[in-house]
Subunit: 147 residues, 2 copies
DNA sequence: TATTGTTATACTCTATAACTATA
DNA sequence: TATAGTTATAGAGTATAACAATA
């Protein structure tokens, strides 16, 4: 029997979704940062993707899709705009709102990030297997929908 | 066909583990806080449990088990000690180290938190099904182990 | 009245680097 | 030399409340 010197017991923690989620999420975060070599945080990737998929959206809609308060999106968009990746244009019909678009540089930057992320996802699929990866995604989705 | 007014497309995000993990984890965090009525953050629950399961452990061991830097554990233990839930005692053989223990109040507080959390876990099991819950736990564990 | 984006502010969580006292 | 705990510090990420402009 192998000696597990200094490894502590998780106790009931091992079977708790919240604990497992926290560990998994921080692992995913680190893996993302390594994969993109620190060029962007996960939050930028998320917002860039949502804007590309829904060009012309207003900020509040993007915030909702990212599960962020609209005020939390402001500094993120400020950064992305300063980097020249996103544009806040005038909304056509609502003068309160902004319409969000990726710039050409934003499209290019997102493509580059996506290549790195896809590679990472592929590694996970190979290690975990396609079926388990799919069921993990479904389970996470259904879990989130409970609240 | 139902109208999905204002719901944005996730695009490739829907199939990305990192994104799904982030949403799920923040949902779990909110659910925990609601279940315990804000009496303790998830971090306290984690540390209390680890200390109870491994009484007499030194701080660095607990930090490792919680996937935290040892310096990040210090303020958490300070809080738990101020609340009278945890004790830093002298280590028997190593005068640099502390040996951590739950106080009686700590045992009681943890039991109360556990009741709330178990109720929450049960709800998840009922909604998701026992099998999917088990496989979700296993998948998260194996996912984390990849990095 | 309600919504949009913004500001001001604050809080939580976490890490890094440097320090001390031991080992 | 290396480890244990601490300190000082800083950064990321997020939320709440209040505000002006507009719907």
């Amino acid at each position: 029997m192998k000696k597990t010197a200094g490894i502590l017991k998780n106790g009931p923690l091992a079977d708790m979704i919240g604990f497992r989620l926290r560990i998994a999420q921080s692992a995913a975060e680190r893996a993302f940062m390594a994969a993109v070599q620190g060029t962007a945080p996960t939050g930028h990737f998320t917002i860039l993707t949502l804007v590309r998929e829904n060009p012309g959206s207003r900020q509040s809609a993007i915030a909702r899709a990212a599960h962020l308060d609209r005020s939390s999106l402001v500094p993120v968009l400020d950064q992305l705009e300063n980097l020249g990746l996103v544009e806040r244009r005038k909304h056509k019909t609502d003068r309160r709102a902004h319409a969000l678009y990726l710039t050409d540089a934003g499209q290019a930057a997102l493509k580059k990030l996506e290549r790195a992320v896809m590679k990472l996802e592929k590694q996970v699929r190979e290690a975990l297997g396609g079926n388990r990866t799919e069921s993990l995604l479904r389970d996470l989705e259904d879990f989130s929908a409970l609240f």
